[in-house]
């Protein structure tokens, strides 16, 4: 009989007595640190998060309208060579996403050559006819991508989802690291962990690099938030703060003669680059939803005139649409000329009769998702669903098959996690953040590990009760030596 225990990031297929060889030190730390001590540190971290207001809002939940995301003290670790392979795959994928967006809002070669069905793109709710023909400054569409990955074995990484609109979570990557450095300093002595704290600087550089021509030497960059009632407001303010730029709300912006200005106490200041954390629909009531009270009237005209850069570009939703996702291997091949280094999870497009038939026959084994759903809503997890839920999805699938895709349930890897009953394996996924500026693509060595806190659960979304962990990326051996030398040289210079 097949061993159905999931791959554990630290124990591998063994157990607490037999960690993966590279993780002996971490295993020793886990085994030797008293549980009460781990518990105490977890509480200290969560207490800090609460005092700092590192929270997210839960809509429709009046009593607990702000919650912290549960934090787990045991880190998830990537070995240097694992990370090197992952980075290459991520860069290739994000380059393809940008090429794809540039193409379908421009020449549409990929449709002309029949690589994917034209109506799937042009008839898609995420395809924005309003931006057809607009080429964003320096041709970059997806400046910030959060690529959700899952792992099922030592070398089996799969992309679960591409987030090319407004991926969130990077503030947790940074705050979790701060907490770990404070609470578990001994871990950083036994591991050479790559630093993540350069992320805000890199993001700011990325933003400046894609400013419109003629913005001057110091382009004015801002973060645009819907306001402090938004669920990700903490992250918006965190990013603006750590980049030292203004956090603006739509009411702070005004467009005049296709130029965007922010209203300050000293009058208007021209804005060049906007990292917007507002969905396309609510950006500009003159172009998108006229009933939106949120947007900035005229913003899209300024964008079309090339006077402002929007990060990420409007219309990106087409690239992370779940129906398009299933074609990503073809898309990567089309633009890069090679095979995708990071595979997709096998995906059945219910719009195709053959696939629909297969899915309907195997509903209890599959995960079914709405192509336009997110945050764990509108999905069926076959193996844990009730009969009634399965039948409800069957009816929905038959009625509107094009709205669904299905995937096999994967044995997601686990990481030891603090639970009420002590340490226990819990399933995780991983979201690294990939930045694309004028001069290319870079991956920050780290990301957000989300953990499903309920036993056996595969749902890691924070809105569904998931937690987070720090994600260590270990530095390669040569880099360690170089850093040590760099450190010596610096001391010599100081001493002379």
């Amino acid at each position: 009989m097949e061993d159905n225990r999931a791959f554990d990031e630290i124990w591998g297929k063994g157990g607490p007595q037999a960690p993966r060889p590279e993780f002996a030190a971490l295993a020793a730390w886990i085994n030797e640190t008293p549980r009460e001590e781990l518990q105490r540190r977890t509480e200290a971290a969560e207490n800090t998060f609460r005092q700092l207001g590192i929270t997210f809002a839960v809509y429709g939940d009046r009593d607990a309208s702000e919650r912290i995301i549960p934090f787990d003290i045991v880190p998830r670790v990537f070995l240097a060579d694992e990370w090197a392979r992952l980075s290459q795959g991520l860069i290739q994928r994000v380059e393809a996403i940008n090429a794809f967006l540039d193409d379908i809002y421009g020449e549409r070669r990929i449709l002309a050559e029949g690589v994917l069905p034209a109506e799937l793109v042009l008839g898609n709710a995420q395809f924005r006819h309003e931006v057809v023909g607009i080429r964003p400054p320096h041709g970059v569409f997806a400046h910030i991508c959060g690529i959700d990955l899952v792992r099922t074995g030592p070398d089996e990484f799969y992309v679960l989802e591409d987030n090319a609109r407004t991926p969130s979570g990077v503030s947790y990557m940074l705050e979790n690291r701060e907490a770990m450095i404070r609470l578990c300093p001994e871990l950083f002595r036994s591991f050479r962990v790559a630093a993540v704290d350069s992320y805000p600087d890199r993001l700011h550089e990325t933003m400046r690099s894609v400013a419109p021509e003629g913005s001057g030497l110091r382009p004015v960059c801002v973060v645009l938030t819907p306001g402090h009632f938004n669920s990700a407001y903490y992250e918006h303010s965190f990013l603006a703060d750590s980049m030292g730029i203004e956090l603006v709300e739509p009411a702070d912006l005004v467009v005049d003669d296709d130029v965007v200005w922010m209203q300050t106490i000293a009058g208007r200041v021209k804005v060049d680059v906007i990292y917007r954390r507002i969905d396309d629909d609510y950006l500009d009531p003159l172009v998108f939803r006229p009933d939106s009270m949120l947007g900035v009237p005229g913003l899209m005209a300024a964008y079309r005139a090339g006077n402002v850069t929007l990060i990420n570009a409007p219309g990106n939703g087409i690239a992370d649409d779940k129906a398009i996702y299933s074609y990503m291997p073809e898309i990567v091949r089309f633009y890069s000329g090679g095979e995708a280094k990071l595979p997709n999870v096998e995906t059945y497009r219910c719009r195709e009769p053959q696939a629909l038939k297969y899915v309907l026959e195997r509903l209890p084994e599959l995960v079914v998702k709405l192509v336009d759903g997110s945050g764990g809503y509108g999905m069926l997890v076959g193996p844990t669903a009730t009969k009634a839920e399965i039948e409800a999805f069957r009816a929905a699938l038959i009625a509107e098959p094009h709205r669904y895709i299905a995937q096999p349930t994967l044995a997601l890897s686990t990481v030891p996690t603090m639970t009420e009953a002590g340490l226990a394996p819990r399933h995780v996924d991983f979201r690294p953040f990939v930045l694309t500026g004028r001069d290319g693509v870079q991956v920050v060595p780290g990301g957000l590990t989300r953990v499903a806190l309920r036993e056996g659960s595969l749902v890691v979304n924070s809105s569904q009760g998931g937690g987070t962990k720090d994600s260590f990326v270990l530095m390669p051996e040569e880099r360690r030596q170089m850093q040590a030398m760099g450190g010596m040289l610096q001391r010599q210079e100081l001493g002379s």
Partner: protein, 311 residues
């Protein structure tokens, strides 16, 4: 600086100051109540309601005027817009909206003050009330300390400006109500109850010791008035608040070049206060004087909003 940010910082300053004032007022009233024979205790709580301008709202609740009910109303009642919990709610909302203009310390201080009420929303006895207001005072002091350590720029000055405007209003109303508070029938002017009430005023603005330092005589109503109106050494006096307003406005003006009607109003008011003689004010009518001061304060508040394009 964004106009919206400026507005939120200013209101952050106002609400923190208001929370601090309400906390002090409740604390002083608990003391006055404890020292007085009933029904003077009741009068103390009645006056606390009038100082915070919430006597009508309280009457609507139909609750009797006593320590437990009024203290509850002034501290944890979320229906009362002037209660401690609501002031801190508003302060935190404003702080949250301008987190990027605050240091981490300043933000956590205000967030911690707000969290006080998240954990304990039960009406308590006098001891519990005193513990709560003591904690609020400590947290708002922590906030003021954190603000002092922020970069010396418009953000800090706008917070201070809000605090100064709010403080001026609070002191003026405190003096107005307490001075006109009727002594219980049969109580002699200058008697124990009268003295206790004047002490309460001084406690509310933490000026008991200051009074002793500045005046050789024992507690005299006209000297308390003098202290609270004209002595710039006392941070909560009208004179000090008015000077602070002028100073902060000129700091902002120097850095941003933004000067206007608010500066002019503030300077006029300072000149007027410098001419103020306490005995003349009392002869001509303290209530009228304070009424006019409160109206000027509101006009200055409006001028500030225009000058910094609050939205």
């Amino acid at each position: 600086m964004l106009s919206r940010t400026a507005s939120s910082l200013y209101w952050l300053g106002r609400y923190v100051e208001r929370a601090d004032f309400v906390a002090r007022l409740v604390e002083a009233t608990v003391r006055l109540d404890a020292l007085s024979p009933t029904p003077a205790g009741e009068a103390a709580w009645e006056s606390a309601l009038r100082v915070t301008d919430s006597d009508a709202l309280y009457a609507d609740t139909g609750a009797p005027i006593d320590q437990a009910n009024v203290a509850r109303f002034l501290t944890i009642d979320s229906e009362n817009a002037g209660s401690l919990v609501r002031c801190l709610d508003m302060a935190r909302n404003n702080a949250r909206a301008v987190r990027t203009a605050l240091t981490r310390e300043a933000w956590t201080a205000i967030n911690r003050a707000w969290l006080l009420f998240n954990s304990q929303l039960r009406p308590g006895n006098a001891m519990a009330t005193l513990n709560l207001v003591e904690a609020v005072k400590a947290e708002t002091r922590g906030f003021e300390g954190a603000v002092l350590r922020m970069m010396r720029n418009e953000a800090v000055w706008l917070i201070r400006l809000g605090a100064a405007i709010e403080r001026a209003d609070n002191t003026a109303r405190l003096v107005d109500v307490k001075y006109h508070l009727l002594l219980p029938e049969g109580e002699p002017v200058g008697g124990i109850v009268d003295r206790d009430q004047w002490t309460t005023i001084l406690q509310t603005v933490s000026a008991v010791t200051a009074y002793r330092w500045l005046y050789a005589e024992g507690l005299k109503p006209n000297l308390v008035i003098d202290l609270l109106l004209t002595r710039p050494e006392l941070p909560r006096s009208l004179a000090a608040c008015v000077e602070e307003t002028v100073e902060v406005l000129s700091l902002v003006g120097k850095r941003t070049g933004l000067q206007g009607e608010a500066d002019r109003l503030a300077r006029n008011r300072m000149a007027k206060l410098h001419r103020t003689r306490t005995h003349e004010v009392i002869v001509r009518g303290l209530h009228e004087y304070l009424d006019e001061f409160i109206a000027e304060n509101a006009a200055l508040d409006a001028a500030i909003a225009r000058q910094f394009r609050f939205i």
